[in-house]
């Protein structure tokens, strides 16, 4: 225990920032042009968030399931695992989150009477976070000096998927049970912050 506590996060990270950012460039190039479809889906999800209907919530959940499956399988499974030996665990974390949201969608579809639209304040906060993940996050990354080919787009890049999920889930209804869907996204953001803190 005392030996492990003498390691810093920096010591434990076995890849460089350049290698990590190159993964986004390579995964974006290989995925092109399907990013356009994913952005269109994300924009529709933003619109449906404002409409506030049970059908809209189902579509948003389906979109999020797709995004977690895609970022888990495509980015983490195919690319991140090449340089990070513990990324296999992250892959399963993303699969679990996708399954949780699919189950939540089925549960709410069968109990539509329990659906209550989110209040204006929560909707505003959630919509702001979701909008950031879709429209602002990719450009902030580029402005930080990284190659624009490595833009972190929702659906492929894990960080905007996690951020977007927090926003969409907050805004989609007033049900407290939806907070269960925030555990893994928040956990992932902790991982992301820890990773960036070592760069």
């Amino acid at each position: 225990m005392s030996e492990w506590s003498s390691y810093s996060l920096h010591d434990l990270l076995i890849f460089s920032p350049d290698s990590y950012f190159r993964l986004y460039e390579r995964s974006n190039l290989a995925f092109w042009p399907f990013q356009l479809l994913m952005i269109a889906i994300a924009l529709l999800m933003l619109y449906l968030t404002m409409v506030r209907t049970i059908r809209g919530q189902l579509f948003i959940l389906a979109g999020l399931v797709l995004f977690w499956l895609l970022s888990g399988w495509w980015f983490i499974g195919r690319y991140y695992t090449q340089i990070n030996t513990i990324a296999d665990w992250y892959f399963w974390l993303f699969m679990i989150q996708a399954a949780l949201m699919a189950l939540y969608a089925v549960f709410t579809y069968r109990r539509t009477s329990l659906y209550a639209p989110a209040g204006d304040a929560v909707l505003g906060v959630g919509l702001g976070i979701a909008g950031y993940s879709v429209l602002i996050h990719p450009f902030l990354i580029v402005l930080s000096g990284r190659n624009w080919l490595g833009s972190e787009l929702i659906a492929i890049a894990p960080d905007p998927v996690a951020i977007g999920t927090i926003g969409f889930v907050l805004a989609m209804s007033a049900s407290k049970s939806r907070y269960l869907l925030l555990v893994i996204p928040l956990l992932w953001l902790l991982v992301a912050v820890a990773t960036y803190s070592t760069f």
Binding site: E3, S6, I14, D18, S19, R22, L23, Q82, I83, T85
Partner: protein, 301 residues
Amino acid sequence: MNRRQFLKLGSLGLLAFTNLNAKSWPAPAYKTIPSSGEKIPVIGLGSFVNFNVGNDEKILAQRTELLNDFFNLGGGMIDSSPMYGSSERNLGYCIERLKPVDSLFSATKVWTSSVEDGPSEIEDSRQLWGVEKFDLLQVHNLLSWEGHLETLFEMKRQGRLRYVGITTSHGRRHSEVEHVMKTQPIDFVQATYNILDREVEQRILPLARERKIAFIANRPFRRASLIDWAKQYPLPDFASDIDCKNWAAFLLKFIVSHPAVTCAIPATSRQDHLVENMGAMQGVIPDTAMRQRMIDYVESL
């Protein structure tokens, strides 16, 4: 000295130093492995992080050039570990494209808590590197060292391995390292040594000399933080007295000028940094008084 070695020494300007005064070693680029008498270049190459780049062919083409430069500048030892992600696979990829590489001194580690899994992990590493046999296998961070050393000594006895070693880093478990050095017939010990982390000078380096064990210095730049910090300051005036034109050569020369140090293994992904590192194999070698001046200067910054 064959033609290839002659050309290498000539390209480094080393031939010019073979007749220098007492401050220079007769052959400053090489040191002897005490257990065998074999000479190896004093500057090697670490592969932690810098070769863990996945299956990125664009980057791998650059790393292949880096390794080519390393060998052309007189480098020999390359150190890796199964712990370093895709590094072993990528070293194999690059080396395959440079073959034949006569001067490669392949060094990797066994890194598993299961002694039973050691042989299969070692075989996986050998296939990833694409070498017939490893020059050096080390027990990584003393993990299950008793059992793994038995495996490695048996491999050496069978001629499937040339040297056996152990490693630690960050100054950890030095008393256990000393115990292994005193009780086991190992050829190499690897630990952290640089101008600010000098704990090994107290017991491990003297023990290495006494027991005729070669010493590999890891973390010569504290990953990169030591050299990044040092570069904020000017080199001392006396750096030119020991033929150091940059901080990399200054910091590495300090390490490899210790009589018990056999080799330092800085890691880099940049060719300009590689050239600076390999510069530590040239020119005058600091003596004891000069080494103290180097410490005093760095500690005054």
